[in-house]
Subunit: 317 residues, 2 copies
Amino acid sequence: MSKQDLINSILSGDHRGLAKSISMIEDDDPDIIDILSKIYHKTGRAFVIGITGAPGTGKSTLINKLISTFRKQDKKIGVIAVDPTSPLTGGALLGDRLRMSDHYLDPDVYIRSMASRNKLGGLSKATRRSVSILDASGLDIIIVESVGTGQSEVDILKITDAVVVVLMPELGDDIQIIKAGIMEIGDIFVVNKSDLPGSDKMTSKLIHGIANLKKDGWTPQIIQTQSLTGVGIDKLIDSINFRQNFLKNSKNSLQIQRQKIKNQITETIMSDIQELFQNQIFDHLEMNAFVDQVMNKEIDPELAAKRLLLDFKKRIV
Amino acid sequence: MSKQDLINSILSGDHRGLAKSISMIEDDDPDIIDILSKIYHKTGRAFVIGITGAPGTGKSTLINKLISTFRKQDKKIGVIAVDPTSPLTGGALLGDRLRMSDHYLDPDVYIRSMASRNKLGGLSKATRRSVSILDASGLDIIIVESVGTGQSEVDILKITDAVVVVLMPELGDDIQIIKAGIMEIGDIFVVNKSDLPGSDKMTSKLIHGIANLKKDGWTPQIIQTQSLTGVGIDKLIDSINFRQNFLKNSKNSLQIQRQKIKNQITETIMSDIQELFQNQIFDHLEMNAFVDQVMNKEIDPELAAKRLLLDFKKRIV
């Protein structure tokens, strides 16, 4: 397939084009840069929902139900499932994928897992790029699912239009780890499995916790759901629609969009800088001399870092 | 307390000096740089053990038992508990701290929590610095405890002498998230709660998984424990001692130590670069012009990033 054929295939929403280009993103194929820049003018139509929550909170079942509801409204949907886990234990998340299998044969639902290539910042960059591809392909809704444990995932969520944080009532010693920074960026909080004891306690804990988290005029919402039976899903959809309308009509709308682009540019630069420098610094000519000095306790690693950085800055331009 | 008094207090192992200097590290007090460089020549004596595992694996109870055993050998111990969770749900980990309270009154055990200040790379830098302080104070063993979910925690573990990964048998849907990269740096794998069904299955899964993970001549060890009753703790201690002897006597010993210092210098530089650039880029004079171009779909964010980085590089030297 020529580059132009691939671009046409993406823009027509052909799943083969989507699969091919996202694989190129994962492989860091140099041709993808050009493709991304040529499809960019078609982006900006899709509403991007980030859904995060620890394993076991019922996040995937919830997404499954959301897809069904959106499909009844004849919306085209893409799901990118971000998987930061080790290949050794990664089988666990495969189970999650299976819970979405209701929709695997639906031509208007495109589901794709995105694995970490263990590169610094690689996962969030790849996800951002894949969202652009799906957006340009004409999908109405793009769901980015993550377990929300790493900084790169917080970065990913920052580029979505609505961040949904899925929690469940706390059961004794069963602890839900929420990475610092996730609560702060949540737009909608879901207390799933609300039939379990502790649901109301969790909800009021949340209300207390997010009371002061109003952002750009938006007040975070809290919704109780039971993803298995579907209880509360309509309210969640309402809340997502409410968020979409808010972003469209808010007087801050332009400001929010500009902020998102600014975040995206900054993060791209930061990950470029990391990629660019990490190896250069590690293999820097003077590195061994500094390691010697630290080994001999003549200087400490921080002073070595400071001096090496000075030396390095002189050479990069 | 004058700077010199504080340095003396640290070097004499006084808990007040340790507490004061680690607080300075957390607050990013500019004076700490000088203090760190002046105590550095006293570091390198302690054996640093990184212990990581998801909440619920019994990690803290295990550490409690390890401390008791090391104390019987009259070793002085420091524990740094790294806490990357959100303040909103952070109460969960406080429970863990309580499980170590057996040793809070022992003057030869120093336990300290280290919270994320939400700064990029801040947590790993602060932990590295705190380990130096404890090391210089004359402790024999320093345990760095982490839940192992973020990249910064992988970075932290990289500077320890022995990485212990705590797992437990899998129970149905109860999924253990292991961040990509953690398995790869594990030196000792503990299957805790080995009385539970699935323990042997988990162990053989591990044996299969780590079969090819030999690093610098070290073959990762797998140990079954029951932290509540103490079963297997002796084997774990043996394994830790074995690792310590290996590092002392291996022909790669010097190489491993150099590599650790090289990692430390590289990571310090990378986090300095991030701190230095993140705000500068975000507030860069040309940023708004580029955001405009992206808003108008004239260029995509990646091209904007590329051009802004070029412009930025011209100005930093």
